[in-house]
């Protein structure tokens, strides 16, 4: 909090004072406040308030129909919310008139699932479109477009027809186009959903580079948890148009009962052959706890046999993290759980005699 105040005072206070609406400071690139969008009687986006920090890669995840794409379109106001306000890079978009809104949209680059390239233009022509629309002089357009194509690794395909390119290459053109007008945010709507895993990871690498080298804030809309795992610092989980969880991934994976975390570690249900009276727990390791021999030590210290029912180690939000599901003998389970928690591990009891007693510890 104090750090935020200091940065605010020194950098953005004059801008803030002149502007009404939600607080967007230098540490928040995007702020949504109580945003609601109805389609008929159904709220596709339902009272969403979310702030997206500047300079990071933020994921909005959810299943199809959760309202992700509508939310993405609300960020640059292609879709107007019925209620609520949207601010991007210090400007409240929902308060702007047409011409100002068009200018503001150019500060937000958007990448689409189906690439959406113009068949009537060459590869470079597609990138130049962004510059034609913002009135860049002709002489500068070609140079800037070529620069963007070089950045995405398609410098030698400038004069190709877009139909000659593969899906991954077409998406790179889409990214070059989104970056051409020098936006401060890159909005990516399911950009990798139509691509194979290998191409997906190359596109994600490109995002990582854009984020690091150009300092762009990236907002990723996706249903793929792998995408979130591999490049996001923070994420929000959307369900039925509502944000159910949001925050930095390193913090979320240490939050008991986090839904997003259980989706990041898809261990699945408890196997049927586990005895009904056994205690089943999930241990989540993150950061420093991930490389300690916790389970071996557990077996030694308590003299019990523990069965590992499932385990996953992932690199999440830049740290090593893992989740292990253990079956413990009922008799020793209370002592073991207390011991694990003392070691600073996140323990969630899924089943067992002590589960009821432990619920206070879970929630």
């Amino acid at each position: 909090m104090p750090a935020a105040v200091v940065r605010l005072d020194s950098r953005a206070s004059s801008r803030l004072r002149t502007r009404a609406g939600p607080v967007v400071d230098s540490i928040h690139m995007i702020a949504l406040e109580h945003v609601t969008r109805y389609f008929g009687d159904v709220a596709a986006v339902d009272d969403v308030s979310l702030t997206i920090p500047t300079g990071g890669i933020y994921g909005i995840v959810g299943q199809s129909g959760a309202g992700k794409s509508t939310l993405a379109r609300i960020v640059n106001l292609i879709e107007r919310p019925d209620r609520g306000s949207v601010s991007v890079d210090g400007t409240e978009l929902t308060a702007l008139r047409d011409a100002d809104l068009r200018a503001a949209r150019r500060r937000i680059g958007m990448v689409f699932q189906r690439f959406n390239l113009l068949g009537s233009r060459t590869v470079r022509g597609n990138v130049e479109l962004a510059l034609e629309l913002d009135g860049t002089p002709r002489a500068q357009r070609a140079a800037r477009a070529q620069e963007m194509l070089d950045l995405v690794g398609l410098g030698d395909r400038a004069h190709s027809s877009v139909h000659e390119l593969s899906g991954g290459q077409q998406q790179r053109v889409g990214i070059a186009r989104a970056l051409a007008a020098r936006p401060s945010v890159l909005l990516s709507d399911e950009a990798t959903s139509a691509l194979d895993p290998e191409t997906t990871s190359s596109i994600l690498d490109l995002y990582r580079r854009i984020n690091a080298e150009l300092g762009l804030t990236v907002l990723l809309i996706t249903h793929e948890m792998d995408v979130v795992k591999s490049i996001c610092d923070a994420a929000a989980l959307l369900e039925n148009g509502r944000v159910v969880e949001s925050g930095r991934l390193v913090e979320l994976i240490q939050t008991p009962g986090s839904r997003l975390t259980s989706q990041l570690f898809p261990i699945g249900p408890i196997p049927e052959n586990v005895p009904a009276d056994a205690t089943v727990i999930d241990i989540t390791f993150a950061g420093g706890t991930a490389d300690r021999p916790v389970i071996a030590q557990l077996a030694r210290d308590h003299g019990v046999d523990v069965s590992i029912l499932g385990a996953l180690i992932e690199r999440i939000g830049g740290t090593q993290a893992g989740r292990t599901r253990l079956e413990l003998p009922a008799a020793a389970s209370a002592a073991i759980i207390t011991d694990l928690r003392r070691q600073g591990l996140l323990v969630e009891v899924l089943r067992g005699a002590d589960a009821a007693a432990q619920t206070g510890g879970i929630a």
Binding site: R73, N76, I78, L101, R102, A103, A104, R105, R106, I108, G109, M110, F112, R114, N116, L118, G119, S120, R121, T122, L129, A130, E132, L133, D134, S161, V162, H163, R177, A178, A181, L187
Partner: protein, 236 residues
Amino acid sequence: MNAQLGQILLVATGQTLYMVGVSLVFTILIGLPLGVVLVGTEPGRFLERPFGSRAAGIAINRTLDLIVNFGRSVPFIILMVALIPVTRAIVGTFIGPTAAIVPLSAVAIPFFARMVEIAIKEVDPGLLEVASSLGASRWQLVTKVLLPEAAPPMLLGLSTTVTSIINFSAMVGTVAGGGLGDVAIRYGYQQYSWIHIVSVIVIIFAIVMILQSLAAWGARKLARRAPRSAPALTAT
């Protein structure tokens, strides 16, 4: 005799090309914007609220739709006769190739406007989102995205339109409009000279073939695709 036939056909072909050509220019100049406005003022589209009013959008859309349907449903020969006062007011006479331009344009404009409408509706809605996300104005949306993307099917639509203008231009021969239709009627029908009929058919067929191939070639070029029949051909 042969020199005379050649002379007659040459003059008539010139007249036909003249009235078809000029009608075509008017058809594009009026039909193209008409088609764009016709699509744009539909609910949920880019001209939904002209002058900031949804009611104006609905009114414009309904009116244009009615005019286009009316123009397309009245048989040409009737339209031609009905338009005689209008033609006389504009051109000063209702006889001759110049006078024929008025009814020919009147029948071709609504026809082409529908072609434009169909072609624009085929443009991927995703491209409209792109234009919005890049901060395009409505004018930029139309000129930079919609028209270039719809150009291949529009060109094929234009070639269908020309074919029907040629078709109708023969009919104006019946009311002394001149051109190849006039030759077919005066020499072919009234004197039953088969050589005139056959010559007229061959010339018209050649004109249509040349125009169709040019349009198909142009559409392929515009689409920047590997040569293959454009999908919009079926829509026209």
